[in-house]
C-alpha cells in the first residue's frame, strides 16, 4: 500500500515532465487527466482499509471534477479559440525540462529537514506534490498561450491539492469540496475570459497583452 502511493506519486512526477516538454495543447489536457487519476488513486491508497465512505466519495468527486469536467472545459475553450499548439514560449522546451529536474531536486532538498515532523508514511509525497505545484508555476510564468497558463494553474492546484489529500482523512470534507468547487469555477471563469480575449484580439498570446504599463 505504501509502495502503491509512491508509484502514483511517481507517475504524477513523470506527468509533470511531460507537461514541461510538450507544445501541444491536447497533450497538456490529457496529461492533466492522468494527474487527476493519480490524485484520486493515492488518496485512497494512503488510508487504511476499509476505506470510509466519505473518502471514497471525495476521491470520486475529485476524479470527476479534475479528470472529466475541467479538461472538458479546457478542451472546449481550445476549440472555440481555434488554437492547437503553444507558440514559442519564453523558456524553451528542453530548458524547461532541465529546470524541472533542478526543481525536483530542490523539492527533495526542502523537505529533508522536515522529514521527522511529518506523520505521513510516504516520504515521496511531499516533494512530489511540491514539484507539481512548482511545475504549474513554471508553466504559468514561461508560456505565452493563455490556455497553457490556465492549464498551468490547474496543475499548480493539483500539486497543492496533493498536499491536502495527504490529510484527507482528518481535514473536514466541506473544505475539500469548497476547494474543488472554487477550482472548477476558477477554470470556468478563465475559460470564458480566454474566449472573450480570442474574440477581441484574434489571438490568445498573452505576451502581446502588454498595453497597460507605467
Amino acid at each position: 500500500m505504501n509502495t502503491w502511493t509512491d508509484i502514483f506519486i511517481l507517475v504524477l512526477v513523470l506527468a509533470d515532465f511531460r507537461l514541461l516538454a510538450t507544445s501541444r495543447l491536447a497533450a497538456v489536457i490529457q496529461t492533466t487527466v492522468l494527474q487527476a487519476v493519480c490524485l484520486s488513486a493515492f488518496m485512497l491508497t494512503m488510508a487504511d482499509r476499509p476505506w470510509p465512505l466519505l473518502l471514497i466519495s471525495l476521491a470520486l468527486v475529485t476524479l470527476t471534477i479534475k479528470g472529466v469536467v475541467l479538461p472538458w472545459l479546457l478542451g472546449r475553450a481550445m476549440r472555440e479559440a481555434g488554437v492547437q499548439r503553444e507558440i514559442e514560449p519564453m523558456v524553451g522546451y528542453s530548458s524547461s525540462v532541465l529546470i524541472g529536474m533542478a526543481l525536483l531536486g530542490l523539492s527533495f532538498l526542502i523537505f529533508v529537514p522536515l522529514k521527522a515532523s511529518i506523520s505521513i508514511q510516504s516520504t515521496f509525497l511531499l516533494p512530489g506534490a511540491l514539484f507539481t505545484a512548482l511545475t504549474g508555476l513554471l508553466m504559468i510564468v514561461s508560456r505565452k498561450n493563455a490556455l497553457t497558463q490556465v492549464a498551468g494553474y490547474l496543475v499548480m492546484e493539483n500539486g497543492v491539492y496533493a498536499f491536502g489529500a495527504a490529510l484527507a482523512v482528518e481535514e473536514p470534507l466541506l473544505v475539500e469540496m469548497g476547494v474543488l468547487l472554487d477550482v472548477f469555477v476558477a477554470v470556468f471563469v478563465m475559460g470564458i475570459t480566454v474566449y472573450q480575449i480570442s474574440r477581441e484580439f484574434d489571438h490568445i498570446d498573452t505576451d502581446r497583452l502588454s498595453e497597460l504599463k507605467d
Binding site: S117, F163, L167, P172, D182, V185, E200, L212
Partner: protein, 492 residues
C-alpha cells in the same frame, strides 16, 4: 442571523440575474446594500449576540470592524451604481483613451456580481475557519472578475486576465499555506481559528513559519503587497470607478484580514517577532515602491491605485509592529476605505465630465464642477494624511506607535515616504483642481456647468462628512473597540 449577512446578498444576487426590469434590479441592489447595513448595525449594537464564536462562522471585533467598513462602503457604492447604470448602461460609449466605441456588459450580470461580491466579502469577515476563509477569498476573486471587465474592450480584458491569473496563483499559494498549517498541527488540529490559537503552543514551529510565509505571499498578492502588486494598477484604472472603490476599499481589506488571522495564530504560538518583522518589511517595501511609481504618474486613476498599495503597506507596517501602531492600523483601515472610496467615486465623475484619464488634460475642476473639485481636493488632503481629516489621526497614531517601539529607521522611512507621496499627489491634483482654463487642451466631450447628480452627490458627501468627523473626534467606545480588534496581534 449572522449568516444572513451572507445569505441576503447571495440570494438577491442570484435572483437579480433573472429579472429583466432595470428599475427593479437597481432597486434590489440598493435594498440589498441597505439590508446588509441594517443587519450589521444590529449585530454591532446587540449586547448579548457578540462576540460569537463557532466552528465555521463567528464574529469577533476584527471581523466586525471589516464587515462594517464593507457594508457602509457598499451602500454608498450601491446608490452611486444605480444612478450610473441609469446613465451609462445600454448605450455605446466612446472610449476616453483611444476613441473607439464599445459596449458594456449586461447590467444583470453586473448587479448580480456586485451582490455576490458583497456576500463573499461578508463570508470572509465572518469565517472562523481558515479553510472557509480561503474559499471565501477565492470566491471574491472569481465574482469580481466580471466586474472589472464591465467595459468590453481590449484594455479591460487585459486587466481582467492579469487580475484573474495573478490573484488565482496567489490564492493557490495561500492554500498551500493552509495545508502547511494543518501539517503544523500534525494533521490532528482542525483549521478552526480558535482551535489553532488554543493549541498554538503545540504546533510545529518550522511548519508554522513556512505556513505564514505562504499565507503572506498568497493573501498579499490579493492585498496588493509589493512585489505581487502588478495586477492592481491595471485593474483599478480599467474598471468602472465604483468597482475600483469597492476593490480598494473593501477587497484589499478582506485580503488583509486573511493575513491578520495568520498573524494572530503566530502571535499565539510565540512567533510574533518572525511574522511581525516580515509584515514590517513588506509594508515598508510597498510604501516605497508605491511612492516611486506615483512620481510623474499621468493617469489619475492609476495614481489612486498606487495610493492604495501605499496604504496597504501602512496597514501591514502598523500591524507588524503591534502595540499602539496596531490600533492605529485598525483605525487607518476605516479611514482609508472611506477616503479611497470617496476619491474613486469623484474620479469617476471627473472622467465623465472631461472624458479623459490623463491628469494633464484635466484643468480647473473647481470652476467646471464645484462640488467635485472641492471633494477632489478634500480627498487628496485626506489620503495624504493632512489634518483635519481622519487619516491624519490614524497615521499619526501609527507613527507614535513606531516611535514608542524605538524603531527610528522605520519612523524615518515612514515619514519620508509619506512626504514624497504628498508631493507627488499634489503635483497631480492641484493643477487638476486649480489650473487655469487657458492651459486646457480642447476636449470634445466637456459637459460645462454640469450639475452633479444626486446619486453621486449624496453618497460622496456622506463619506466626506464621516472622514472629517473621524479626524476631529473619536469616541471612547470606538477607540476601545479598535483596541480589541487589534488585541490578538498584540495591540491595545
Amino acid at each position: 442571523m449572522l449568516f444572513s449577512t451572507v445569505l441576503i446578498p447571495l440570494i438577491l444576487g442570484l435572483g437579480v440575474l433573472g429579472i429583466p426590469w432595470k428599475g427593479v434590479r437597481r432597486g434590489i441592489l440598493i435594498a440589498g446594500g441597505g439590508c446588509h447595513a441594517l443587519v450589521v448595525a444590529a449585530l454591532a449594537f446587540t449586547k448579548n449576540g457578540f462576540p460569537v464564536t463557532g466552528t465555521w462562522i463567528g464574529l469577533d471585533s476584527t471581523g466586525l470592524l471589516f464587515l462594517s467598513i464593507t457594508s457602509v462602503l457598499f451602500l454608498s457604492v450601491a446608490i452611486y451604481t444605480a444612478g450610473y447604470l441609469g446613465r451609462d448602461s445600454e448605450r455605446r460609449v466612446r472610449d476616453s483613451v483611444e476613441g473607439f466605441l464599445f459596449s458594456n456588459e449586461p447590467e444583470a450580470i453586473f448587479i448580480g456580481c456586485l451582490l455576490l461580491f458583497l456576500a463573499s466579502m461578508s463570508l470572509v469577515c465572518i469565517s472562523r475557519d481558515m479553510g472557509l476563509l480561503w474559499v471565501a477569498i477565492e470566491a471574491t476573486t472569481l465574482v469580481s472578475a466580471p466586474l472589472i471587465s464591465f467595459h468590453r474592450h481590449h484594455r479591460s480584458l487585459e486587466a481582467t486576465w492579469k487580475y484573474l491569473l495573478i490573484c488565482s496563483v496567489g490564492i493557490a499559494i495561500a492554500l498551500l499555506g493552509n495545508y502547511f498549517l494543518a501539517f503544523a498541527g500534525h494533521g490532528k488540529v482542525h483549521l478552526n481559528l480558535d482551535n489553532l490559537i488554543a493549541e498554538a503552543a503545540t504546533l510545529d514551529q518550522r511548519w508554522l513559519k513556512a505556513a505564514f510565509l505562504m499565507l503572506l505571499v498568497g493573501y498579499g498578492t490579493k492585498m496588493g503587497m509589493v512585489p505581487m502588486h502588478t495586477w492592481l494598477p491595471d485593474a483599478h484604472s480599467e474598471s468602472p470607478s465604483m468597482v475600483s472603490a469597492l476593490l480598494s476599499g473593501a477587497l484589499l481589506n478582506c485580503a488583509f484580514l486573511g493575513i491578520l488571522r495568520s498573524h494572530f495564530i503566530l502571535t499565539a504560538a510565540g512567533l510574533v517577532l518572525f511574522s511581525g518583522e516580515l509584515l514590517v518589511f513588506f509594508g515598508m517595501l510597498s510604501m516605497a515602491v508605491a511612492a516611486a511609481f506615483m512620481i510623474r504618474q499621468n493617469d489619475y486613476k492609476r495614481m489612486l491605485a498606487y495610493s492604495s498599495i501605499e496604504h496597504m503597506g501602512i496597514l501591514a507596517l502598523g500591524v507588524g509592529l503591534g502595540g499602539l501602531a496596531g490600533t492605529g492600523a485598525m483605525l487607518h483601515a476605516v479611514n482609508h476605505s472611506l477616503t479611497k472610496g470617496l476619491l474613486f467615486l469623484v474620479s469617476g465623475h471627473i472622467l465623465f465630465t472631461y472624458g479623459t484619464k490623463k491628469s494633464s488634460d484635466v484643468k480647473h475642476i473647481i470652476k467646471t464642477a464645484p462640488l467635485t473639485g472641492c471633494l477632489w481636493l478634500a480627498g487628496f488632503l485626506a489620503i495624504t494624511g493632512a489634518p483635519p481629516f481622519g487619516p491624519f489621526l490614524s497615521e499619526l497614531t501609527i507613527l507614535k506607535g513606531i516611535l514608542d517601539a524605538g524603531r527610528w529607521g522605520v519612523a524615518a522611512g515612514y515619514v519620508l515616504v509619506l512626504a514624497v507621496i504628498f508631493i507627488a499627489m499634489a503635483r497631480v491634483v492641484i493643477p487638476m483642481a486649480f489650473g487655469l482654463p487657458e492651459q486646457q487642451k480642447s476636449i470634445e466631450s466637456i459637459h460645462v456647468n454640469h450639475r452633479e447628480p444626486a446619486w453621486f452627490a449624496w453618497p460622496v458627501m456622506g463619506m466626506a462628512m464621516v472622514i472629517l468627523v473621524l479626524g476631529l473626534y473619536i469616541p471612547g467606545p470606538v477607540w476601545s473597540f479598535l483596541g480589541k480588534a487589534a488585541a490578538m496581534a498584540g495591540g491595545f
